[in-house]
């Protein structure tokens, strides 16, 4: 394990975190929030100082990142970003307890959107901006990491996250990391700007338009309003956000390919079609259930609220326009199941990803047919790409791990004395990077009432889910640390 090279990259990451605080400081300055400006100044100073100390330690080492170092960097990068990113919350006095502040920041950087804050309208704008900005940074980080960096990292880069997307991940991307990263960054910024302009035009203030864009594009879910998107009660805004949530939950590789002239990249992508299929099916089912139980006066309202909530949960965003905890059991169970699916691979969406769920179902269906036709081949196909037996097993193992961690987390949360629905839904809502769950962590509630040890466990769930488990799990394998 080459610690020096890891430190160098960590130093750079901390520089970037410090740098990104300037925007929030600027907003705080603009809104005359003197105390918050100082909180940012101190936070930046501390973060810069530690960053420099890390760089000092390595003194211009120029070694390459290898597999183990890469994994360590990814895991530590997120853990440290949240550690320094939570300074403004603490120093401004908005969140007094460090664990809650860490929870909030991790929720930001992992694009989860679970919050311990309430009465958002009374909070300093600078802090609200920082909170939403961590989403945007985290979302971009994930896209660049999973599409540009990981497939190219060192010799074994392509197998680093071998449970990752079969097929489209590397195809059509320029070989050089920095160039690919720049283009993805441009796409991300471009779509974000479009959303900000639209939301501004539809009546949001520029500040709110920015913050909600960050929350949407990162499939995060932090809002500047306590009532989330329901605050605006505007169909126009809801439709816009639905549209951009769907875009954010799409594989960014597809945009890259579409920009290069392959316009039919998205509609012809097997995963994207399943993603849309699940979305439409869930909207129809929830709408029917809402209508059957007469939850809303008319069909229009049922469709409106069903669409928003389904898209928000499936893309793992977590914005709300209705308190789905009051919906009938069927809709609630369905939404919880959607939490396990998540967005497309290579999107900012979290959870297990649509492509894995597809592999899962195809392999399971094959197994049923193989019972009476043992001679059938064990290879399955996603679109036109065959998925090998080994990759299939790896994906199944990922799913088992994911569900296993969910089960353990549910147990631990129950141990904190939470009721069943809260324990179970808070676990999947954080592990899947969604945000709101049911009961005690429902759409109109927040995570402030969760005991502090529980907030720490959920913070770990968030980073586990965001980095697709392995980058964190390897830390617990003793042989990972051996030379």
């Amino acid at each position: 394990m080459n610690v020096r090279v890891v430190c160098r990259f960590l130093g750079v990451i901390l520089f970037l975190v410090a740098l990104s605080m300037t925007f929030s400081a600027a907003w705080a300055f603009y809104f005359h929030e003197t105390q918050v400006v100082w909180a940012f100044v101190y936070s930046m100073a501390i973060t810069f100082a530690v960053g420099i100390a890390l760089l000092w330690y390595v003194s211009r080492s120029s070694e390459e990142l290898l597999r183990k170092e890469g994994m360590l960097l990814v895991g530590l990068g997120w853990l440290l970003s949240a550690l320094f990113g939570c300074l403004p919350f603490i120093l401004s006095g908005v969140i007094v307890n460090p664990i809650s502040a860490y929870f909030e920041t991790m929720s930001g950087f992992t694009t989860t959107g679970a919050t311990v804050l309430s009465d958002l309208e009374t909070l300093p704008k600078g802090i609200l901006f920082w909170r939403s900005f961590t989403h945007w940074l985290g979302g971009m980080g994930i896209v660049v990491l999973f599409i540009a960096i990981l497939p190219q990292l060192g010799a074994g880069g392509k197998v680093l996250f071998k449970s990752e997307v079969p097929g489209p991940s590397a195809e059509g991307l320029k070989p050089r990391v920095s160039q690919t990263a720049t283009r993805l960054w441009a796409i991300y910024v471009g779509i974000s700007m479009a959303e900000t302009v639209l939301l501004r035009a539809e009546g949001m203030t520029l500040f709110d338009a920015f913050c909600h864009t960050f929350g949407t594009m990162a499939t995060g879910g932090f809002s500047t309003k306590t009532a989330s998107i329901a605050h605006y009660d505007s169909i126009l805004i809801e439709v816009t956000i639905i549209g951009f949530m769907i875009l954010a939950g799409t594989n960014f590789n597809l945009y890259y390919r579409m920009l290069r002239g392959r316009w039919r990249a998205a509609p012809s992508d097997a995963e994207w079609r399943v993603y849309c299929g699940i979305m439409v099916a869930a909207i129809v089912l929830v709408t029917l259930n809402l209508r059957a139980q007469a939850i809303y006066r008319d069909l229009g309202s049922a469709v409106r609220y069903a669409s928003f909530q389904v898209v928000s949960i499936l893309t793992t965003t977590g914005y709300c326009t209705a308190d789905f905890d009051l919906w009938p059991s069927f809709s609630r169970v369905l939404l919880v199941l959607l939490m396990f699916v998540g967005g497309c691979a290579g999107s900012t969406g979290g959870s297990m990803k649509v492509v894995r769920v597809s592999v899962l179902f195809k392999r399971a269906a094959l197994e049923v047919r193989k019972v009476f036709r043992p001679q059938l081949a064990t290879t399955i196909k996603i679109g036109r790409s065959p998925v090998s037996e080994e990759r299939t097993t790896a994906i199944l193992a990922f799913v088992i791990l994911f569900v296993g961690i969910f089960a353990v987390a549910s147990c631990l949360m129950a141990l904190m004395g939470l009721d069943l629905a809260t324990a179970v839904s808070s676990s999947i809502a954080t592990l899947g990077n969604i945000g709101p769950g049911l009961a005690g962590v429902g759409a109109t509630m927040n995570y402030a009432e969760i005991p502090l040890p529980g907030q720490l466990i959920l913070s770990i769930c968030m980073v586990l889910g965001r980095l697709e488990l392995f980058a964190i799990l390897v830390f617990f394998v003793p042989s990972f640390w051996k030379k």
Copy 2:
């Protein structure tokens, strides 16, 4: 598809079902329940008649059972046994609604133990005996089926249930089906007799001793008392039943091998050790949780109730001495997780089986190590037996299917208007053949309040779980029915 040969075997099964009703009729006669005796006479007549009709149809065909016919027979065998087995309930007037009667009988034959009946003490003894006897028949059927018949069925018999036990399944068993079946039957009867004698000596009436033996040995859970085993409030009886539940959840193949002089077969069996390990760990955790929350006055009581409930749930029996629905969240979540594990392969226990859970965890742990050591081999070992990549994938696919069916069933039950805890726990309690769940189907409740379509869905869950999914799932694959 050779329907004739399937019909011949189905005819034989119906003969056996009719024959087995005689014992219950005898008890009804002994207790002077004239109406019940007639109910049994009519039921036997109908079942015999249909059995003869089926045999008539085939007119002494002597063809071999092939793979597809075998699967059809297994699936239809259970479905038809429950159909004819529910006649005594209906004809005696104990259960008026045919769907509820079918639910109760399916719960019996699948050794689930979920009941729609209450105030058991007021019901005719003949009916109570039949109810418990269906457990015992179902339990024996499963042991013989999975250890003796399936591995030998036609050319492809060994792959028929390929997701079945790696390792011990076929080893040490005589090649001839009938001989193996007879020996397993002898072991099953022998252990049952021992339990009946013990329970009788400990103060149960002979009738109750029989019924509770049936419920224990089959890991079923039907009792003759509304309060289940709590009725007796006897530590002696509880310890006896705990012991026999553990025996019933053990692979019967191990007894077979021990009878042939390999005394260390059980303690040296990898699956059996994990089974005991899970049991001890769960008892310790639940005891600590109960003590921490001061649910019971002293440590002794906590150990007593924790042990019984943990063993009862893990072995998928479902007997109760305490209402675990009143226990703290942690214990309840843990018990629900145990419901997914179940007994050993080749036992009368249901659910996913310990060996599958072991494969699951070993493969998932391997996947984590493979992330930074891609050169690691993909083979895992259970004890000393290696499990191939293909078999591992098959087991993972089974688990995915199991969890998927659980999810779908939970959705459907929620659609019936049940609350979350009831919907979710009734699904796993029936799919895993346990019996009691949480909330509306908790230890002190029953399934009578579940809407009839829900009872039908849960009946399907029971038979799906009991036959390890595939024997029923193939019915839904169109190509299964093609020539």
